[in-house]
Symmetry: C2
Subunit: 99 residues, 2 copies
DNA sequence: TGAATAATTGAACAGTTATTCAACTATTCA
DNA sequence: TGAATAGTTGAATAACTGTTCAATTATTCA
């Protein structure tokens, strides 16, 4: 897994990382590491209104990073695969090392 | 390495990933995977002028992702640690899996 | 010294993006 | 049915970001 990107993958890769490049989204993803959560709970945890969170969840879903299921009035979000956690954890290693 | 972020780390983490969230920067990092390169060569490889590349290298350096050494008129850049490659490679796995 | 090459810098512009607000849809339950 | 709760949507705004251009610094070498 040490090869170069194919030419058309650069932009895709950048699009992927762009998603992680926002404090609100990182906090949402981090909150979802341990349990699925509905929009209200996420909004409480990250301290933003439901609309802002919903917009960001839409980005995260289009990027295949979260999945959702409806249960009555609530829509529960969770991480869609393990890469999301891996990427965040390696990022944490990187910034913690530079101290 | 499965813990949550400490509160003040969210923004740092987002700042880190923001760096990867640009096609030009990803291409630069990818080019540097295999060898150190001077600004001119990088500019040729990514098809941009030296100024644009220099601006991006500055961001990459401030984010501790590349290091540089001068040799005469040339300044050679290389990756500063292995996390950079790891992050890119996991990103590639993620996007290749979704096909 | 002075011309040539390599790289950096700062300002300006255009394009992108996150948040807010108000309006809307969907579901529950009395 | 209708009120209440949960979530989404689109438009508008403000802030941010990448690239270009022109000017500048640093180094080499004749």
């Amino acid at each position: 897994m040490n090869e170069n990107c194919r030419e058309e993958e650069y932009l895709e890769l950048a699009e992927l990382f762009k998603i992680f490049g926002d404090g609100t989204r990182v906090r949402i993803l981090n909150a979802l590491k341990h349990r699925e959560m509905c929009v209200c709970d996420i909004a409480d945890e990250v301290g933003m209104n439901k609309s802002a969170v919903s917009h960001q969840l839409k980005s995260l879903k289009m990027a295949n990073m979260v999945k959702s299921r409806r249960d009555g009035q609530n829509i529960y979000y969770s991480l869609s695969d393990t890469h999301v956690e891996e990427i965040i954890n390696i990022g944490l290693e990187h910034i913690r090392e530079d101290r």
